[in-house]
């Protein structure tokens, strides 16, 4: 079919930060579906809680301290995470490199403490449904933690190569910041469900 030029786009930029970029929307999409997974797992847990009047099924209380330390570490990590984001928006290489190293370390630290969380639950996954559900919730979040930390480390390495000097890479750093927020925020309700809800029973 015949065409007539109507619009000149030669001046458009070649990348954008945040919601301007499709990657940001893709990340949001994955957060939505993973968040749905968290919500459903939490819903399943609460469903069983309401079903059994003696919930916790005479299991011992979990020791909340490792979980509380993880929570504090994760909340603290939000500050450097957002400082990193402002530098990523400005495409400033040095502070972004430092920020990425910091975030890699701040990702590994809760992962190390997480290792001690599983025994602190004071129950095994195959003891009863209560044990199964809290292991599942903790496992689900740990999977997210591991994948995001892995992702952060790979991106950190990438930022130290010549590939880092590109708008798209700085955009990736921004999306990594965004996803870390998600990992931290999903933890809060799970932390409450695992460590504090059983104390009510």
């Amino acid at each position: 079919m015949n065409q007539r030029p109507a619009l000149d786009l030669s001046g458009l930029p070649t990348f954008g930060h945040g919601p301007r970029s499709p990657t940001w929307w893709g990340t949001l999409g994955f957060m939505a579906l993973e968040g749905m997974g968290f919500a459903l797992a939490a819903g399943a847990y609460l469903y069983l809680v309401t079903l059994w009047p003696n919930w916790r099924l005479s299991a011992p209380q979990p020791n909340h301290w490792p979980g509380t330390i993880v929570t504090l570490l994760l909340i603290a990590s939000l500050v450097p995470n957002h400082i990193l984001n402002t530098y990523a928006k400005r495409c400033a290489m040095r502070p972004v490199r430092i920020g990425m190293v910091v975030m890699s370390l701040l990702g590994l630290a809760p992962l190390v403490v997480r290792w001690f969380e599983f025994p602190a639950l004071n129950i095994y996954w195959d003891t009863n449904a209560y044990g199964s559900m809290i292991w599942v919730l903790l496992g689900l979040h740990t999977t997210h933690l591991i994948t995001d930390v892995g992702d952060t480390i790979v991106l950190t390495v990438l930022m130290f190569t010549h590939h880092g000097y590109s708008g798209r890479r700085f955009g990736d750093v921004g999306d990594n910041v965004f996803y870390w927020d998600f990992v931290v925020l999903t933890w809060i309700p799970i932390y409450l469900l695992i460590y504090w809800l059983p104390r009510l029973g």
């Binding site: 786009l9 930029p13 990348f15 749905m36 069983l48 495409c91 000097y165 708008g167 798209r168």
Partner: protein
Amino acid sequence: MSSADLTSERDLPPEREASTKGDIAPERDGPRDTGMDDVSLHRWLARTWRTPPGIIGALSSVDHKVIARRYLITAFLFLCLGGLNAVAMRIQLSGPQRGLIGPDLYNQLFTMHGVTMMFLFAVPIVQATGIYLVPLMVGTRNIAFPRLNAFGYWVYLSGGLFAWVSFALAMAPDVGWFAYVPLSGPEFGPGKRADVWAQMITYTEVSSLAVAVATIVTVLKQRAPGMSLDKIPLYVWALLVTSFVVVFAMPAVMITSTFLILDRLVGTHIFNPAEGGDVLLFQHLFWFFGHPEVYIIFLPATGMVSAIIPAFARRPAFGHLGLVLSLIAVGFLSFGLWVHHMFATGLPKLGASFFTASSMLIAIPNGVQIFCWLATLWDGRPVIRTPLLFVFGFFFTFVIGGLTGVMLASVPLDLQVHDTYFVVAHFHYVLIGGSVFPLLGAAYLWFPKITGRMMSERLGRWHFWLAMIGFNAAFFPMHIVGLWGMPRRVYTYPAELGWGNINLFISAGAVLFFLSFVLFAFNLVHGALRGTPAGDNPWDAGTLEWATSSPPPSYNFARIPVVTNVEPLWAERGALPVASGLRVDARELIISTVAEAHPDIREKSATPSIWPLLAAIAVGATFLYSIFTPWAIVWGAAPIAVTLVGWFWPKGDPEDEE
């Protein structure tokens, strides 16, 4: 809107200036399409966007049309396999106490039929149609995240092969496509059959979720300049809403199958009532996915109906806004009715009544759609061609399915017909009438776009009548035999119940219906090889996919169209307004703003890569291994990580760097 508005500075976000500063290498500019003659433009774009030659090249393809063709063919083959399952079951049921197929095989057959039709045919084929058409209809050059899309196909293919190889080894799931616990649980589901079900679900859901995210982002961010929300074609709306439903529904079934496999494999007690679990939890989680699943299959089909009717009624769809709002309403409401699959489990009466009301409510937006389509057809004299015939078939059958759905929504009535052949009839009227007939119409409509050739109209009419008669003969009597007391999922029945004759009739209809697909397959092959050349726009339809050649070139559009109407080709009869200024030596496409579709970024689309296939193999092998040991997740993590790093690590193409 005049095209000058689209680039005026006030519309652009303020960050635009900031983003060009900082520690980034300057753009290595390449040749642009501005003012380039058509021949050189084609030569440049064809070289930039081509799928590399050779087997490795083919396996590396990220072209949405190539991936979609593979999806369509694979899904069609699974349809044939699922259909053969059905024919085998119908032969067994054609008379009382027939001994052709024993319960062990029969239970695998109906499970594989359901699993294949739902997870390996229906969802993939509607998504595949979207993968092909959505980028063309929104006027872009590739789907968003093309490598993710390719990965989705490979995971789907491995999931399908996994299920069917299991069937060939007589270890296919035999617990129904719903796989209720405790029948599928560790105690009553020995062997690996239920594990096959659980992991096959995981494969196919990973694939649908990937496609859903890619589709959403394509629609939100890659629309041609000027295609504001009110100018998005109805088919694209349908796929957008469907993709959102996928994003929120599919995690439920992944959670369900993961819980099941944990119970089976590592001894958790999530569904074990003896240790504080609950068997109905499985059903709640499964149907929280399972009911939206019906709409995941049905909504894209309504989009197809909304594409076929305007083309043949020769006018834009009546009530465009009403149709869009109905789609969104159905998408939301589909999450509020799952319990109507569980009325017979003895839930509290008040709760059940709520779900009766919500199930009735969803009939209203569906009614709005039906009335708007009818009103579109009322206008003039429609051109009656095969695609429209299938839409008539859709009305004839889907309305029956919708009305029996209203019957099932009633709690007391449901208790008589639940899990009987009445329900089998109902959902085949909904799924075949509501989804497969529009899909067949869509096949006739878009076949010329995909292949460049027309399918035979004469064979198309034979196909239509054979399908209509076969379908109704097979499924209408099922309503009756269900009311006579015949339950679902029985491999045989006693002669004295008097169901023999009617079942023989049903089986004859089923064979006829199967033959209609043989005729369809013949028409497809015949059309692809011998069909008359179609030209760009054989139906004189109005949406953007008809603006490019048939089949479309690898880059879809030599110049990105500028959209001024919901039916742009009808509005711009003289010459289509197009954009220029994109690079031709790199895979550039336009990222636009979400609501108004103002052009915002010249984004590079990903180049072909073998890594999505390797990642899919790593993921697939991990899933497969995981039905034998939970350590598979640990061992599988390394290859998956390696392939994903390989996938995302920049290779130095301009597409990677900017």
